[in-house]
């Protein structure tokens, strides 16, 4: 497994290798970041707000005088885990329904498609508000809310892809052979749509980061003193005029994470095509 990944990365174009490096870096940061963070996430450690670089605060302090490095390391954990897990969950659910709809067609397709339309019509923030009010904010709930929000979009794309593939002769051949729906979905159809689906997942991932920060702003997301990367940008917005590191660092973190993820996915796509 590891040797396969290594050889895959070696044959990638440079952009893909950069993407792979960035993604691995942030995954490590998410796992080990809180362990190596110099301060606790909510500790007010400095009198000065929006401080610059210093030996004790390598990335300065935020608008309340908290250590930016520690907060970014904690924030990475939320963003990477929730956004990544939610994106994967959304793609998994959306694509599964899409495969079912395209293979069965007829009423099954109609039923699933209209249910997804209904889901799209609920504004995501109101949806989140209701659920958080009912169950209280928790990581699991955030994961479910963000995933459900992006299921219909993925379903639409996956269904369009699958519908085109279902009509192709090789699926007919497999059907005429007597293959069951699981084989058709996982062996015949899915391998031919995996690359556009990965690209879609990269896009959803970025949207979920944005949604998370939006939810945090409303007080529905990650609860203070903890914060995800998007919320870190938002809460330090006042520092923008003075070019404070407290806003630049989480912004760079989000940028490198999303750009890295998309570079990696693009490289995978190109590798699959040739």
């Amino acid at each position: 497994m590891i040797s396969r990944i290594a050889s895959g990365v070696r044959t990638m174009p440079l952009s893909g290798q950069i993407g792979f490096g960035l993604v691995v870096f942030w995954l490590l940061a998410a796992v080990f970041g809180p362990v190596v963070a110099p301060y606790s996430v909510g500790a007010f450690v400095d009198d000065e707000v929006f401080a610059g670089l210093s030996a004790s605060f390598p990335l300065g302090t935020d608008y309340l005088g908290r250590d930016v490095l520690s907060r970014v390391l904690w924030g990475a954990r939320y963003t990477v885990f929730i956004a990544l897990a939610a994106a994967m969950l959304a793609v998994f659910i959306g694509t599964s329904f899409a495969l079912l709809a395209s293979l069965r067609g007829g009423w099954t397709d109609e039923l699933i498609s209209r249910a997804m339309d209904t889901l799209i019509s609920i504004p995501s923030k109101i949806f989140a508000l209701v659920l958080v009010a009912a169950f209280g904010s928790s990581l699991g709930l955030l994961l479910v809310i963000t995933a459900i929000t992006y299921v219909p979009g993925n379903f639409r794309i996956a269904r369009a892809l699958a519908m085109n593939l279902v009509a192709l002769d090789f699926v007919q051949v497999a059907r005429a052979r007597g293959e069951g729906p699981v084989h058709l979905a996982t062996r015949e159809i899915l391998p031919n749509m995996i690359h556009p689906l990965l690209a879609d997942m990269g896009l959803r991932f970025v949207f979920i980061v944005l949604l998370l920060s939006g939810l945090s702003f409303l007080g529905l997301g990650v609860q203070p003193p903890h914060a995800d990367l998007g919320s870190l940008v938002r809460e330090n917005l006042t520092g923008l005029t003075e070019g404070a590191l407290a806003i630049i660092v989480p912004a760079i973190a989000i940028a490198t994470l999303t750009v890295g993820a998309n570079l990696l996915i693009d490289a995978l796509q190109k590798g699959g095509r040739s």
Binding site: L168, D169, Q172, V173, R175, A176, R177, P191, N192
Partner: protein, 599 residues
């Protein structure tokens, strides 16, 4: 500078390779075309014939570079013109007729708007004048109702008509050079004759010089004055058409000619026990009510097939031949009728057939490009039916995959390739091998060679022929090409508009008596002989032109040269049988020999 209308000297076209170098796809091409003559560029796919033809318009696909000492059309030096200069020539002095008119027309605009567009774009006429000229052209291209056809949309006319309308679009500016890129390849053989004739006449009327791109020597023999034979981007041979066709100097030209003039020695007809029996099939699309589908496609079609024997099912597009194949395989369940395999009736729908029954009937799809899953290797493609039907896994399966590759004459290393890395012929072989992996008793081949070059297709046909004899597989062979069926099948079933009009055994193929439609099909296949097209009489619509909708009557009557007024438009035709020949016609069989029909 010569006085020829078109002159090409030392044309070379190269493309960038992934390694950063450049690779010539076409090189050392030189030819001239005197004014008013037709030059044919002939070769298999990948020979560069379309690339060369497009370079006459100064066009090449993205990333390709055209270099030549001279490319001249009339007084214009195509090789030195800039983009603006080229744009002013294209569609005005040089025009192009593409292979698929259906894909070349915009479905959301009327035909008239598109046909007169070249005149309007180059500001050569007002809309009024342009429309008048278009209608004249429609008339000279023998299109039905020339005054009103322009108001229709592309989907409202037939394929052959659309191809002629495309010619109208190309000829409306009275161009000096017309490039025709396989304009009749996608058409039925009966339609092709008419389209070829009108093309030939219309080009002569406009006085244009033409370049005709084709893979089909017999078609080229009808229209070309000069022929250039291409292979792998180089010229094999060039010269006047008569010389190239009658005294070819090059080996490759000879092999092309041989593939066209088929000299396949037919072994004895196979006559074993009856394997497959298809009885009174009624099938179609839409909801089935009272045993009849909403849109019936096939009615009362049946035949029997012996072990190891082959039946050829032929007909034009829309005749229901592919539907018949799908009905036998159970992909489209028949509304009524039965499919009997070894004396045991099969369920109409494949969902209700057992895995064993599915295994016994295998289907080879027409288009190997889409029939092979691009995500699977050849080995995986072949291993799946082995695991699914026979439970073969691991080393046993690998050994069987190797055997299958041997059987279809592909090297064993191919097992690790994906379909994108295979040529068209190789894909079709893998497609065939996948069906063979099931050890089928009945093999249904749906137009398996129609997407392939002549020489490659011939090899596939030969392979299927050997396999069915050696393995005793009963083969149903769907085709639009009657000469293929004559060469490779023991029986012939002719479908017209969903009804069987003739069922014949091998002995009857060369016999004199045939259904008038079968005869039309046979006569429509172009012959290598150069005067063939000019001898073809145009198909005459008879006085019985509006019969199609009345059920039961002979559907061919409106096109039939020997239809009997007062009989064919009133009474349903009877099936007449004599020996192994059955014909659906009012004429008695002994009256259907060619001489009698003419008399």
């Amino acid at each position: 500078m010569s006085d020829a209308q078109v002159e090409v000297r030392n044309l070379q076209i190269d493309v960038a390779t992934p390694g950063g170098g450049r690779k010539a796809i076409v090189s050392d091409i030189s030819f001239e075309i005197p004014k008013g003559e037709v030059l044919a560029l002939i070769g298999e796919s990948g020979s560069g014939k379309t690339t060369i033809a497009l370079s006459l318009m100064g066009h090449s696909r993205f990333g390709a570079h055209i270099a030549a000492d001279v490319i001249r059309v009339g007084e214009h030096r195509i090789d030195t013109l800039d983009d603006r200069g080229l744009a002013s020539l294209r569609g005005r002095r040089i025009s192009y007729i593409a292979q698929s008119a259906a894909a070349a027309f915009n479905p959301s605009r009327t035909i008239m708007a598109q046909v007169i567009e070249p005149l309007l774009v180059h500001k050569l006429a007002t809309r009024k004048e342009a429309e008048t000229r278009a209608i004249e052209l429609f008339r000279s291209l023998a299109l039905p109702s020339p005054d009103t056809i322009g108001a229709r949309y592309p989907h409202q006319v037939s394929g052959g008509q659309l191809q002629r309308l495309m010619a109208a679009m190309a000829l409306i500016t009275k161009p000096e050079l017309v490039i025709l890129d396989e304009p009749t390849t996608a058409l039925d053989v009966t339609t092709q004759v008419e389209v070829l004739k009108t093309f030939k006449r219309a080009i002569a009327e406009v006085g244009a010089t033409a370049v005709y791109v084709s893979h089909d020597l017999a078609v080229v023999a009808q229209v070309a004055d000069r022929i250039v034979v291409l292979k792998d981007g180089r010229m094999c041979e060039s010269g006047p058409a008569a010389t190239v066709l009658e005294a070819p100097a090059d080996d490759y030209t000879r092999s092309l000619l041989a593939a066209g003039n088929r000299t396949h020695d037919m072994p004895e007809a196979v006559a074993g026990a009856v394997k497959l029996e298809v009885r009174d099939i009624l099938a179609g699309y839409g909801r089935i009510r009272d045993g009849r589908p909403a849109i019936p496609v096939l009615s009362d079609v049946g035949f029997t097939l012996e072990r190891g024997a082959a039946i050829g099912v032929i007909g034009e597009s829309g005749s229901g031949k592919s539907t018949l194949a799908r009905v036998i395989a159970g992909i489209l369940p028949a509304a009524s009728g039965s499919i009997v395999l070894d004396g045991q009736e099969l369920a109409p729908a494949m969902d209700n057939r057992s895995r064993e029954d599915l295994r016994r009937i295998q289907f080879v799809f027409q288009n190997a490009d889409t029939a092979l899953n691009p995500a699977h290797t050849v080995g995986e493609t072949l291993a799946r039916p082995l695991a699914f039907y026979h439970g073969l896994k691991g080393a046993d399966a690998e050994a069987r995959v190797d055997e299958l590759l041997d059987l279809i004459h592909l090297p064993r290393e191919m097992a690790s390739r994906r379909s994108a890395e295979l040529s068209g012929g190789q894909k079709q072989r893998v497609n065939l091998a996948r069906a063979l992996a099931a050890d089928p008793e009945v093999l249904i081949c749906d137009e398996v060679t129609s997407a392939l070059d002549t020489v490659v297709g011939e090899a596939i046909l030969q392979l299927i022929d050997d396999l069915r004899r050696n393995l005793g597989i009963a083969t149903v062979f769907i085709s639009h090409d009657i000469s293929t069926v004559h060469a490779f099948c023991d029986k012939l079933l002719v479908l017209y508009s969903g009804t069987a009009v003739e069922l014949a055994a091998r002995a009857d193929f060369t016999g004199a008596a045939h259904h008038p439609y079968t005869r039309l099909l046979v006569d429509s296949v172009p012959q290598m002989d150069r005067g063939w097209l000019d001898r073809q009489v145009s198909e005459q619509a008879t006085s019985l032109a509006d019969l199609r909708l009345i059920p039961g009557l002979c559907r061919f009557a409106p096109r039939c040269p020997v239809a009997i007024a007062g009989t064919c438009d009133v009474l349903p035709p009877p099936y007449r049988t004599e020996g192994t020949l059955t014909v659906l016609c009012h004429h008695p069989i002994d009256a259907l020999t060619k001489e009698d029909v003419i008399a």
